[in-house]
């Protein structure tokens, strides 16, 4: 907020804004409401109170318009509730100051509430919400977060998490969509440690189930914390919010999957060598590009394509492109059309139902063959290698600049501390890393056939019966990320580690889908879930490039070969490369 504002500027700005200050001038911007604005934005209210700002209108004209504050939930909520008393004044004076920024309910009764409380002296212990429909909900554990705007308002000088958010749903599956929008408000009660309570009658905004999921995940991605962001986010999810979101997303996925429709194009065969499954998210161009670039290689006629359209707005366009592809390329293509975004894992699982082969290839839309006869190579691989080596495998992926993107994945972990007044807890946060990321194309040790801890979902080839035995991709993950590693670990847990074989592909990593804030929130939640589910298996046996897990040990067993540069013993997979190639490796690329 700027200091030293010229009072004349205030009037000028106010006039320029086209809004009124409530003194009888014609109100040109009908959305602006001085009282609601001050109620919604405590930082502005304090500035006005201190005389730093002439009015809320002045602030709006100066920067609020640019910041789109009139579109913010806090303002919409405050404006909808205009005429009621501010929440923090509704109950006795001893109640700590608090505010509910927004309350949103979905059509199935899920509720999302965001607010803050200045509970430094009297900690907030319980949040309850009740409305006309659905069960009342009470939370005794809920995420806290940093609110710099509130810190300014309450003039907090020490790190303090004033903010909170809660989420719940009624755990009904499939989700109901027929609830009448009867309630326009809900009652939120905050109970503090001293026993005092504060109540706020809050306007209840309505969103669809998918919208609400996106809203929550988008909000989650943008939260600020004191301390390590990932650790604090994990801690938030540990408090029940994570499981509630997963259950809600699963129920939502089931509803979306139940609405799937299909259409087949091109040659119709009863059986194919492989079914290439491609989930599409937000970008249509990859459909015709893949149709073109996969269509003309040797052996491709033995493969069918199953595209899962997670973006309903693309359905008409993709249908047209499929009709074009049928005429131009003659591919066998099935479109699985979904009414909403099902997410990566669930989309692949749905598509697998329509496969007409015993082999599933899960391929990202931004993966393209680097060699024209890739399909023939893939078929030859299936026919020539032992079944255990082809049951479940990935391949080498390359950047557009020709360097290696990776040849298999391994696991590593970060640790962080969560500090409260009572104790300090240590959190393990697993992450997925890639063998040979950015390595020159000649560094063939990274693409040699071998067992690896995991392969990327950008390209997976898996026997259909094995995929089904593993239960397909775990659908608890939201949108995408980590479900590929999860599937690999399920396979490992069943005694079958995954393999990498060298069928080189281009991968425009991360360019295959539009990435929005909700997806970032989903990634964060997925990492939390993955860490929770697999920490006991991964730590310590699967950590690092040379994991000690018994089923992978052979792949990384130290052999007799030594690195010609460092003279360090080479693991078996690295020792398989020629001495010439190893000698050419720069220090950065050495496998240690």
């Amino acid at each position: 907020m700027p200091d030293d504002i010229d009072p004349h500027l205030a009037e000028t700005l106010a006039q320029a804004s086209g809004a009124s200050s409530g003194n009888g001038d014609q109100q040109i911007d009908p959305q602006f409401d001085e009282a609601a604005y001050l109620r919604a934005f405590p930082d502005v209210a304090i500035a006005v109170e201190r005389g730093d700002m002439a009015s809320g209108l002045f602030h709006y004209a100066l920067c609020g318009r640019v910041e789109r504050r009139l579109q913010m939930p806090a303002y919409l909520s405050a404006r909808a509730g205009n005429g009621t008393q501010p929440a923090h004044e509704s109950v006795g004076a001893r109640v700590p100051r608090f505010s509910i920024d927004v309350a949103i309910a979905s059509e199935s009764g899920a509720v999302f509430i965001v607010g803050w409380a200045d509970d430094r002296q009297d900690p907030l212990v319980t949040i309850s919400v009740a409305s006309g429909h659905g069960r009342p909900h009470t939370w005794t554990r809920f995420p806290r977060l940093r609110r710099p705007d509130v810190e300014t308002v309450v003039q907090s000088t020490e790190p303090c998490n004033h903010g909170f958010w809660v989420f719940c749903n009624d755990d009904t599956a499939p989700l109901r969509t027929d609830l009448a929008p009867a309630d326009t408000e809900c009652l939120v009660e905050l109970r503090f440690e001293s026993g005092v309570t504060g109540e706020a009658r809050q306007p209840l905004l309505r969103e669809g189930n998918g919208q609400l999921r996106d809203t929550v995940m988008g909000y989650f991605s943008a939260i600020g914390y004191h301390g390590n962001r990932t650790v604090e986010a994990f801690t938030s999810l540990d408090l029940g919010a994570g499981d509630a979101l997963i259950r809600f997303n699963r129920a939502l996925s089931d509803s979306i999957a139940a609405g799937a429709a299909t259409e087949r194009f091109g040659p119709n065969r009863k059986h194919f060598t492989g079914s290439i499954i491609v989930p599409l998210f937000g970008i249509s161009e990859f459909f015709f590009l893949q149709s073109c670039l996969y269509s003309q290689g040797k052996g491709i006629a033995d493969y069918e394509f199953i595209y899962v359209i997670n973006s309903p707005e693309l359905i008409e366009l993709i249908q047209r492109e499929a009709r074009l592809a049928e005429m131009i390329y003659g591919l066998s293509q099935t479109l699985v059309m979904l009414p909403d975004n099902l997410g990566f894992g669930a989309a692949n699982n749905v598509a697998a139902r329509y496969a007409r082969s015993d082999r599933l290839l899960c391929v990202n839309p931004d993966v393209f063959p680097r060699v024209s006869d890739w399909a023939q190579r893939h078929s030859d691989l299936l026919n020539s290698m032992p079944a255990e080596q082809t049951r479940f495998f990935g391949t080498s992926l390359y950047y557009d600049d020709g360097s290696l993107m990776h040849g298999g994945m391994y696991f590593d972990m970060d640790t962080g501390l969560h500090v409260t007044r009572e104790n300090i807890t240590r959190h393990v946060m697993l992450r997925v890393e890639h063998y040979g990321k950015g390595a020159p194309a000649w560094a063939d040790q990274f693409v040699a056939s071998r067992r690896v801890p995991a392969v990327t979902g950008a390209f997976i080839s898996i026997a259909r019966d094995w995929f089904e035995k593993l239960g397909g991709f775990t659908q608890d993950y939201i949108f995408g990320h980590y479900e590929d590693a999860d599937l690999c670990l399920k396979s490992l847990a069943e005694g079958a580690p995954v393999w990498v074989h060298d069928i080189p592909m281009w991968h425009l990593e991360g360019k295959g889908a539009k990435r929005l804030p909700p997806h970032e929130g989903g990634s964060l939640l997925n990492r939390w879930l993955f860490s929770r589910n697999w920490q006991s298996l991964i730590v310590p046996e699967l950590i690092g490039q040379l994991p000690g897990h018994r089923l992978l040990r052979e792949a990384v067993e130290i052999g007799n070969e030594v690195d010609p540069v460092t003279e360090a013993p080479l693991p078996v997979f690295a020792a398989k490369v020629s001495r010439r190639a190893a000698a050419k490796r720069p220090a950065l690329m050495r496998v240690r």
């Binding site: 161009e285 015709f288 590009l289 073109c292 670039l293 003309q296 366009l317 047209r320 492109e321 009709r323 074009l324 005429m327 131009i328 390329y329 003659g330 931004d366 393209f368 950047y399 557009d400 600049d401 281009w506 425009l508 360019k511």
Partner: protein, 426 residues
């Protein structure tokens, strides 16, 4: 049985002037009159002629002309160069099956779709496919000019990062995919041709096999009676510009050179501008041209050096050419071939041109024409002054002018390519 040849043209020269379509139509006329071949023309038209889009039709005849058809292009993606309308592709397939050509010769692919090449191969597996590159559009997304958008310098090679520098909003990866997309379709072409030799090196560097690409100069019929050389000794101070009035053609460089000459006190010369499509110029260049011409018009008649004559039909070319001594070709891009150079030679006019690309390849500096540094108005001004004042220069260059490339020679060259498959079989 005469060989059936389908020529596919981006636009019809009757509807939209442009070098590629002019050359394609010249070839069509030559082959159509040849009893040994049966030739058809399919030319695209876009929504600049909505009245030609007959209801429900995708391919139609054209103005009662025998064997000439229009491809009613719609829903065209100018980035990927493909049409998005399945019915248009279905009609094209039906058209191919109806004509059943032995040879399909693409003159360009814009407004048609590069994927039509794959359609031809799929529908007519044994058909011979020829594709003539008329600029670098397959290589370069910047209008196929291979001129860097950052500083307007000539570009020598396309790579993902260099192309991203021209299109910062698009990531390098997109250009890898763009190239793969083009290459995938172009692999079905049996023979490529370029009207200039220097183009071949660009395409070979890009990845087209050298053995598949050949130089076939653009040929034209004679557009008027040959010039009568009286042998008189006269001032040779009349310059002519013929072509599109947009940035790449460099007409604004001519106007700057005129100003430089005037400022130096040299005014004994004239420049005729012949052409149109100023709406295709950038706003800056358009304004520069329009402001200059308006100011010129405001001058007393005897003080005007520049005269804008507007557009012209090919039949008018000989009278327009008769008014000048020199033909200016000041293009600020590679200028693939420069039909206007052929036309200048057709009417006995030495050419003053930029020293790059197709211009430099065709016009021999100090032998049959003069070069100047591309984009350098001062250099052009100096050459123009020399052309006006140096005794015997015009005569020397005029007497060394090469013959213009004839369309019957071009047709023979293409027929040889069309028949190559037969020769290989024999």
């Amino acid at each position: 049985m005469p060989k059936k040849i389908l020529l596919i043209s981006a636009y019809h020269p009757e509807l939209l002037r442009g070098g590629a379509q002019v050359v394609c139509h010249e070839l069509f006329e030559e082959l159509h009159a040849d009893a040994k071949a049966k030739c058809y023309l399919l030319a695209s038209v876009d929504d600049s002629y909505p009245a030609l889009f007959k209801s429900g039709a995708r391919i139609t005849g054209f103005d009662g002309r025998a064997d000439e058809f229009l491809f009613l292009s719609r829903d065209y993606d100018y980035w990927w160069h493909k049409v998005g309308e399945p019915l248009l592709i279905a009609s094209f397939i039906e058209f191919l099956e109806t004509i059943n050509p032995d040879v399909v010769h693409f003159h360009h692919f814009m407004t048609l779709g590069i994927d039509l090449v794959t359609v031809v191969r799929r529908v007519l597996p044994s058909c011979r496919i020829i594709l003539t590159f008329h600029e670098f559009l397959a290589i370069c997304a910047a209008d196929g000019h291979m001129v860097r958008r950052s500083d307007r310098s000539l570009c020598s090679r396309a790579t993902p990062v260099r192309c991203h520098q021209c299109f910062p909003e698009r990531r390098p990866e997109e250009f890898l995919v763009r190239k793969m997309w083009f290459m995938q379709h172009l692999q079905h072409v049996d023979r490529f041709t370029c009207p200039s030799r220097f183009m071949i090196e660009h395409y070979v560097d890009w990845g087209i096999p050298r053995e598949k690409i050949e130089h076939v100069p653009n040929g034209q019929r004679r557009y008027g009676p040959p010039p009568v050389d009286s042998g008189r000794v006269a001032k040779r101070n009349r310059f002519g510009f013929f072509g599109q009035l947009h940035d790449a053609k460099g007409v604004h460089i001519v106007l700057r050179a005129v100003q430089i000459l005037r400022d130096s006190g040299f005014t004994d010369f004239s420049v005729d501008l012949n052409g149109t499509n100023i709406h295709c110029a950038s706003p800056e260049v358009r304004q520069e041209i329009e402001v200059f011409l308006a100011a010129e018009k405001a001058l007393p008649y005897n003080a005007q050096n520049v005269c804008y004559n507007g557009s012209y039909h090919l039949e008018q070319l000989h009278t327009r050419m008769a008014r000048v001594d020199w033909c200016l070709v000041p293009s600020i891009w590679w200028e693939i071939f420069g039909l206007v150079i052929s036309e200048a030679w057709m009417f006995g006019k030495p050419v003053i041109c930029s020293n790059v690309g197709g211009m430099a390849e065709r016009v021999a500096d100090e032998v049959d024409g003069l070069h100047f540094e591309m984009g350098d108005a001062r250099a052009l001004a100096a050459v123009m002054r020399r052309a006006c004042t140096e005794d015997g220069l015009w005569r020397k260059l005029h007497d060394a002018l090469p013959a213009y490339p004839r369309r019957d020679v071009m047709a023979k060259n293409f027929l040889r390519l069309y028949n190559e498959a037969d020769e290989e079989v024999a």
